[in-house]
């Protein structure tokens, strides 16, 4: 299916005129969460206004090309390099991370970090949000992830079960366009409906994965009194593969191509560009612009870009939200903005798990449970790297096609964190900046040139294996987002302050991961080159051993859902307990993150919430609903 981003959609709504409209819903944030909600509400005939902090040109042809050009021309290609850094809607960048000295918050970048642990976690404030540069792994959570407290006495229980969410997982997989095979993905209790197939067939494992699998498959592991055998398993992916003709009871699936014109021909199937993070040049990878394009075509969705939500106003009597005050800036790179407001029946904050609580706290809305901003979660990544005995052709394929998922669940979770393991097709890139660092080292220090350089590169780069252990981080109320009037940005918005430490439970998982990596390398006959630098900003010591810990970009937990208003911020529909017509959606609602990258679950939760929004709208607007439903 080809849905073009409607020409002019970014500018067709006049903010002043919009202020006079009472929308059915005002959505803050045009990422996947906001886009899904806007698209579904508009499909049901509702009028929606999206306020988006970033500029919106970028989903047109010219805009997308400018992302690519910025990326190709950047001397440092970090994961924000394609995206314009505006002063009015600033965003964190991985390269901002600094070591934090005790008692001295690092306020040098947009995200103020008061530590003690520093993180390089990021998100993107452009239309389409962080899915513009996500990697698009789309794992479902395990059924046991929803019952951590009951089963393992760790973390929290959800007010929902896997079964409650399963139909929405199906729908999210359709929307994102997931490529995977059920046979590979039904493990550790994950079940699928009878006859279910993914929209597209699984992407093949890389040559590197297969080489690892040859030796690794069948490796026995004893943990928590349970024995299991490891194997390399393909990951489900939000990028276009070969449509499965059996999808949807034999109706098949039409992949979604690019939203900007010239890529129509190439925007379909993943070409193995190995650049999913930070930007897929051919838009084979899902990004929220694909959902937005469809929503904007409905004619019932208005979009105001360059609109940074500043304050949520409430009626003191009823607690209901009356309007959202926002700053509309004229240009991304210079000051100059106007204060505007947006009114609606419902308000949906979909600005992500850092920006949602930031906005609420900056509006003086701490929540009756006092939990707004608390229980911040992410994944903690531990990398381990080695050289394989043979050339594995590293640096080909999507960023990651396969990994080890057998330790995502089990009784050991009473004692230590679970993890999932990625085999990185981009070698030691994340750990050590390969292959450029190898090139520089071979030339400058190794005296290599000509044939000996070519040989050196093959020996050193094409044999690289990097394992990334994505370790779960349980909720902890002292890990939190706060604000402070002392820290504001150009528009006078209070900046988010992150207080974060890695719990021991996670560190035990980290330590085990490192041990396991040694065993795996030994089994593969690989040379272990892992060495953790004590000067690294994310260096953490546990039981006398030091580790480099990196952020996972899987923001969650800052407005957790529950069935009790005194211990949660939102209900199972992501509706605020305190403000009846306000929904806080996204990763912030998740009570646990388990070992799946969070976005598929975010999408499923949002799709589920739409039902509640629609019935609330219908209940509260019953007499005039006829006029709205065109």
């Amino acid at each position: 299916m080809y849905a073009k981003f409607p020409e002019g959609a970014a500018h067709r709504t006049d903010p002043a005129a919009a202020a006079e409209v009472l929308y059915d819903a005002v959505v803050v944030g045009g990422g996947i969460a906001g886009a899904l909600i806007a698209s579904r509400l508009s499909q049901a005939g509702k009028r929606v206004l999206i306020l988006e902090a970033g500029p919106a040109e970028d989903l047109t042809l010219r805009g997308y090309e400018s992302y690519l050009d910025r990326f190709y021309s950047a001397t440092g290609k970090d994961n924000q390099s394609p995206y314009p850094a505006g002063v009015n809607a600033p965003m964190p960048r991985g390269t901002d991370a600094r070591r934090i000295s005790p008692g001295a918050p690092d306020a040098s970048a947009y995200l103020v970090q008061s530590g003690p642990f520093a993180t390089d976690t990021t998100y993107t404030r452009v239309l389409g949000g962080t899915t513009m540069h996500w990697e698009a792994k789309t794992l479902r959570m395990l059924p046991e992830d929803f019952r951590m407290r009951t089963l393992y006495g760790e973390g929290a229980d959800w007010p929902l079960t896997y079964e409650d969410l399963a139909p929405y997982y199906n729908e999210a997989e359709r929307e994102i366009g997931v490529s995977a095979d059920v046979a590979d993905q039904a493990y550790l209790g994950i079940t699928f409906d009878e006859g279910y197939v993914f929209p597209m067939k699984g992407l093949p494992l890389s040559y590197l994965d297969r080489m690892v699998a040859t030796d690794l498959d069948g490796m026995p592991v004893e943990l928590g009194g349970e024995r299991r055998e490891l194997r390399v398993r393909p990951f489900p992916q939000g990028r276009n593969g070969i449509p499965n003709p059996a999808y949807d009871g034999g109706k098949g699936y039409r992949p979604r191509g690019a939203v900007s014109t010239y890529q129509v021909e190439v925007g379909e199937r993943c070409q193995g560009n190995n650049n999913c993070v930070p930007i897929c040049p051919v838009q084979a990878k899902y990004h929220a612009g694909k959902t937005l394009a469809v929503a904007l075509q409905s004619g019932r969705v208005d979009l105001v870009a360059q609109a940074v939500a500043h304050k949520v106003h409430i009626d003191e009597q009823t607690g209901r939200v009356t309007e959202i005050e926002y700053r509309r800036y004229d240009r991304p790179d210079s000051p100059g903005s106007a204060t505007m407001r947006a009114r609606g029946r419902l308000f949906v904050l979909a600005a992500n798990a850092v920006e949602n609580p930031r906005l609420m706290l900056a509006s003086g809305l701490r929540g009756s449970s006092g939990l707004m901003g608390r229980n911040f979660m992410d994944h903690a990544y531990l990398l381990a790297w080695a050289l394989l005995p043979e050339v594995a052709g590293t640096f080909r394929g999507t960023n990651c096609t396969g990994g080890i998922t057998d330790l995502r669940g089990g009784r050991f979770r009473r004692h230590q964190a679970a993890f999932s393991v990625d085999i990185h097709n981009d070698g030691w890139g994340w750990a050590r900046g390969a292959p450029m660092t190898d090139l520089v080292d071979l030339v400058d220090a190794g005296g290599r040139y000509g044939q000996s350089l070519r040989q050196g590169l093959v020996d050193r780069v094409s044999r690289q294996l990097q394992l990334a252990f994505m370790v779960e981080v349980p909720a902890n109320p002292s890990n939190r987002i706060t604000v402070d009037p002392a820290y504001t940005d150009h528009l006078g918005n209070m900046r988010p302050i992150l207080t974060y430490d890695i719990p021991d439970y996670t560190m035990r998982g980290v330590a085990y991961a490192r041990q396991l990596s040694r065993r795996i390398f030994a089994r593969l006959g690989a040379e272990d080159h892992t060495a953790y630098d004590p000067d690294f900003w994310g260096y953490a010591v546990h039981a006398g051993e030091g580790y480099e810990i990196r952020g996972g970009n899987h923001l969650a937990g800052t407005h957790t859902m529950g069935s009790d208003p005194s211990t949660s911020v939102v209900d199972p529909d992501q509706r605020s307990w305190d403000h009846q017509n306000l929904y806080l959606v996204g990763g912030g609602s998740m009570p646990t993150v388990g070992t799946s990258n969070v976005t598929l679950t975010i999408a499923a939760l949002c799709l589920r919430s739409v039902r509640a929004m629609l019935s609330q709208l219908d209940a509260e607007t019953a007499p005039i609903a006829v006029e709205v439903a065109r």
Partner: protein, 177 residues
């Protein structure tokens, strides 16, 4: 002083990169690279580098004549390697420039010269780290050397990653532990 010769720059580049002239010309960037090196280091140094390279080849060709006719002559690789090390790589002035030319071809990026070098031979605005054009990243020889595409460009096609890499045999076999 005459401007550094493009042909000589190309010959130097072949020796430095172990990619053939056709491959180097095929990037469409050879002339821009020479311009970049000239802007970053100045013609005097570039000319000195090309002279040193010519001299190294002459040395390696034993009793051969002038540089222009060197192409057809079978060079002694061991002697050439030695001459390049002695005349260029170990030279304070030329070594860092030659290494930068290698990196320029392989990464498509001009790296900043070391501070010791700029202190002695002068810093120029064009000498700072920069990409030459957006295309130069995509044409980096590094990607060809490892049988991969530059991430973000020249996608090799769906599923190609499941096949063994296309790396020239001689480099494959040479892989040692």
């Amino acid at each position: 002083m005459t401007a550094p010769s493009f042909e000589e720059f190309l010959r130097l580049s072949v020796d430095l990169t172990a990619f053939g002239e056709t491959e180097l010309l095929g990037t469409g960037l050879a002339r821009q690279y020479l311009a970049k090196v000239r802007a970053a280091c100045g013609d005097e140094i570039v000319t000195a580098l090309l002279d040193a390279h010519r001299a190294a080849r002459t040395e390696a060709a034993g009793d051969a004549g002038d540089a222009g006719s060197l192409d057809g002559i079978l060079l002694d690789r061991v002697l050439l390697d030695r001459a390049l090390r002695h005349r260029i790589f170990s030279d304070d002035r030329l070594g860092p420039v030659a290494r930068n030319v290698i990196k320029l071809w392989y990464a498509g990026m001009w790296y900043a010269l070391p501070p010791e070098w700029t202190d002695r031979y002068g810093a120029r605005a064009a000498g700072e780290a920069s990409t030459v054009t957006a295309a130069s990243y995509q044409e980096g020889l590094l990607w060809r050397a490892i049988g991969a595409n530059p991430p973000g460009a020249k996608g090799p096609g769906y599923g190609s990653w499941a096949q063994p890499p296309r790396i020239e045999d001689r480099y494959l076999n040479g892989a040692t532990k």
